[in-house]
């Protein structure tokens, strides 16, 4: 049981960061199909930073910087240039996948993975899983990100502005809120938050490998929608999806339910939620509209 919970937590951390990023951007009215790309840029930045400095903290900074840069790219494309946000998101995912592949080749002459990089926690072979999980500061940050985000979104002036800009940008503008500026900040913040999910993956596995996020950004989007754009509910959705994944790993070989069907759970639940079959998910009113 403890093993199950720990494993769930390990799997959930990247989802928690990425979903937090998704909530911030989408509450401000900007579609975040970019989460996958943000995470991947974070993972690559973390590997580069940690490899060249020898310190995982430099990796965290470099990874977050990567997410920040691509967050800005998405913001400039979709806010300044009013590009279609869905297309911009897809382009950024392809762009990051390409750039990380190119620079993986350039920096490490490999098309699959980086050399071993330092990470957090006691990586010694004898260390228990509990020790490995709880000595990793990114796990703690991942657990804190949802409560902090809930507080920011619902209890701070910035959060109020983000929600106003996402629901009714014209009204917000009339009241003196700088709509574009709030959106820039929200999308850049989204990049940083989601990239930390990738940072965690790279440092946990002690390397960057090609496409290592493997669709996790889309699971995070599923969690955002399933959580009806509320940070806490999105966080619970992340834990739920991670628990399903853990179950699938532990059931392997037991041949009870095919693993493919358990892997589908987040996607099926998202469609069910969007269709309103349980309770309707209603997105922020100005989501995707360049006003």
């Amino acid at each position: 049981m403890i093993g199950f919970l720990l494993q769930t937590l390990r799997i959930a951390v990247p989802y928690l960061f990425a979903a937090a990023g998704g909530v911030v951007a989408e509450r401000a009215g900007v579609i975040s199909l970019t989460l996958e790309g943000f995470m991947l840029s974070g993972a690559f930045g973390a590997a580069i930073g940690a490899f060249y400095s020898g310190s995982p903290w430099v990796g965290v900074l470099c990874g977050a910087f990567g997410g920040f840069i691509f967050g800005l790219v998405h913001a400039v494309a979709s806010i300044r240039f009013r590009a279609d946000q869905v297309v911009s998101g897809i382009a950024i995912n392809l762009l990051v996948a390409g750039l990380t592949r190119f620079f993986l080749k350039l920096a490490f002459d490999s098309s699959s993975n980086s050399p071993r990089v330092p990470g957090f926690g006691s990586a010694s072979a004898g260390a228990s899983m509990a020790a490995a999980v709880f000595t990793n500061p990114l796990v703690w940050m991942g657990l804190l990100v949802i409560p902090v985000l809930t507080w920011v979104v619902y209890r701070t002036p910035f959060g109020l502005r983000v929600r106003a800009v996402g629901e009714h940008p014209q009204a917000a503008e009339t009241l003196g809120v700088r709509v574009s500026r709030i959106r820039y900040v929200a999308v850049a913040l989204s990049g940083v938050l989601a990239s930390l999910g990738g940072v965690y993956l790279a440092l946990d596995q002690h390397q960057f490998s090609d496409n290592m996020t493997a669709g996790r950004g889309f699971i995070a989007i599923a969690a955002v929608i399933f959580g009806r754009w509320d940070p806490a509910r999105a966080g619970i959705a992340c834990l739920l999806f991670a628990a399903a994944e853990t179950l699938q790993i532990q059931l392997q070989g037991a041949q009870t339910i095919p693993s493919q069907f358990i892997q589908m759970i987040p996607y099926v639940l998202t469609i069910v939620a969007l269709a309103g079959l349980v309770r309707r998910s209603v997105p922020p009113a100005s989501l995707g509209k360049a006003d």
Binding site: A83, L95, V96, G98, L106, F218, T270, I271, L274
Partner: protein
Amino acid sequence: MTTRSVRAQVEEALLPPLVALLIALLAGDVLILAFGQQPGEVWLTLLRGTWGNAYGFGQVLYKATTLIFTGLAVSLGVRAGLFNIGAEGQLAAGGFAAAFIALHFPAATPAIVIILAAMVAAALAGGAVGYVPGMLKARFGAHEVITTIMLNFIVLGLLNYVVVNRVHVHETLHTPEVPKAALTRFADLISAFHGSAANAAIIIALVAALWVGWYLFRTRAGYDLRAVGLQPDAAEYGGVKVGVVWTKALVISGALAGLGGINFVLGYKHYYEEGFASGAGFLGIAVALVGRSHPVGVVLAAFFFATLSQGGLAINALVPKQMIDVLQGVVILAVAASVPEVRRALQSGRAAIAARSGDA
């Protein structure tokens, strides 16, 4: 009927891709220099390796074929105001259905029967996958962007389950080879194409492009579809059943993407293999975007992206082929960002000219 001249439309359609091409060339130069190579030499190698010899050109033809299908699929959706991001799953479903049907014909069946049946199966499977988001949008208002993305994962998971547990060749992730049901490989007709995967599916792709053009611009249903895409509320007021049009558009879109599966399954490998559709769905979005959702543009854009992708292999000795992945992203981003900008610039330019001639 419209006040916009043909010239204005052409300008608006051509400028963003040209801007994007320039930006991509610049970005490519930077990457090439970062790798310590000469840009001019790399670009020449890319052209020589694609349009410069029959094998390279054959590969471009082959890769363009799938992209024409997925590009048309996305375009048809865009014309109806819908974003079909599910082309990847629809393509895979179509490819699997084609292989599955072809496998179940007795060996004595004439090849043409098998080919036709496989094509119908591919289109039906893709259409069925497209129906789900269409119906969900029409009945529940579920946003098709999200449902098509999620369906990609679901469809690929289901196919993985079926292939792994039911119909794979031992120790592979592909089905057995289908008998006879091969579309003619161009290499069998013209020996210079030897080794390339180009096949008769390109002809079917071009016919599909013609059909989409006819459907969109020459039929009542296509008119309704475009009306819904431009202004759903007005179309509804004008008596068009918007939900029905949405569903129909996504079914046709899915069928087009599904039909693309024959290029790999009937034209190249003669079996369904897991992952054959990988990337072609997202690139279909790029093709539709650069081709401005017009069948002619889609065909041209498909050749452009196919050239890039095959060109990556040609330049790999000089610069990592991964550079092409970057350029694809740059092109999409640049087109997406410059479309609204170009439109505004052209409009304000015209307004200024109109104002000046009004003064005179």
